[in-house]
Symmetry: C2
Subunit: 114 residues, 2 copies
DNA sequence: TAAATGCGCAACCAAACGGTTGCCCATATC
DNA sequence: GATATGGGCAACCGTTTGGTTGCGCATTTA
């Protein structure tokens, strides 16, 4: 409602975008999108990066809620949470539709003038 | 088709995500989503940042195709291009639906077992 | 109990990022 | 022609980021 709320909301969107704005993290999300919960070493085996590098990336994803982790014995199991992805989809569709509407109005205005 | 192609594709998505992963740039996109093409100083007036800072951000957006610029007289006019946004929407919906499908299969499998 | 596996933590490093300042050029405006 | 406006370019700077290495701890497994 208030412009303050919208400001805060877009800050969150920016954070999620930023979290996805890294090839490694995006591939982790893609890897986890098959519905399987995986351990850190499991996820590390796909990349040439160190386990610690993957760990850092997973924490970035966790901080924005794109991923949840559970400790099971000696390993940390990560699984995807698609809700932030849906948030982004909504945000993008709002921007796109605002653009489309604006163009439609502009077109109507121009046609009205001629 | 090939895994190489998909790899390159997701690299592009990551770049667009990264471009949107900054509060200032995201606000520029939002500002331009009203269908109006604006000059750099025009866009700079909204923020407390320097004109040069805004210029840099606009070039980042331009590099990933989120924005186009045209020189008109002594000013550079920028306008939004929503196609990359649609790309992201598609990408996100693919990931989400893959997740949903996987969960559905998992559920069906579990119910089959019991 | 000893060895192996999976992680977490901290320190460290180079590169990228976001931002500023200063200067100069081109285009409008008076 | 003189002045004001809009913008490009380059240098510079502090902070963040992505990555590594080293070490220690807890949990399995032999």
């Amino acid at each position: 409602m208030s412009s303050r709320r919208r400001r805060l909301a877009s800050e969150r969107q920016a954070q999620i975008f930023a979290a996805l704005g890294d090839q490694t993290r995006l591939s982790l999300v893609a890897r986890l999108s098959d519905g399987t919960a995986r351990s850190i070493t499991d996820l590390s085996d796909d990349h040439k990066l160190t386990r610690q590098a993957i760990t850092k990336h997973l924490h970035v994803l966790e901080d924005v809620g794109l991923v949840r982790s559970v400790r099971s014995g000696r390993e940390s199991i990560f699984e995807l949470d698609t809700r932030p992805l849906n948030e982004l989809q909504d945000y993008l569709s709002r921007v796109s539709s605002q653009w489309d509407d604006a163009l439609a109005r502009l077109k109507a205005f121009v046609e009205d003038e001629t």
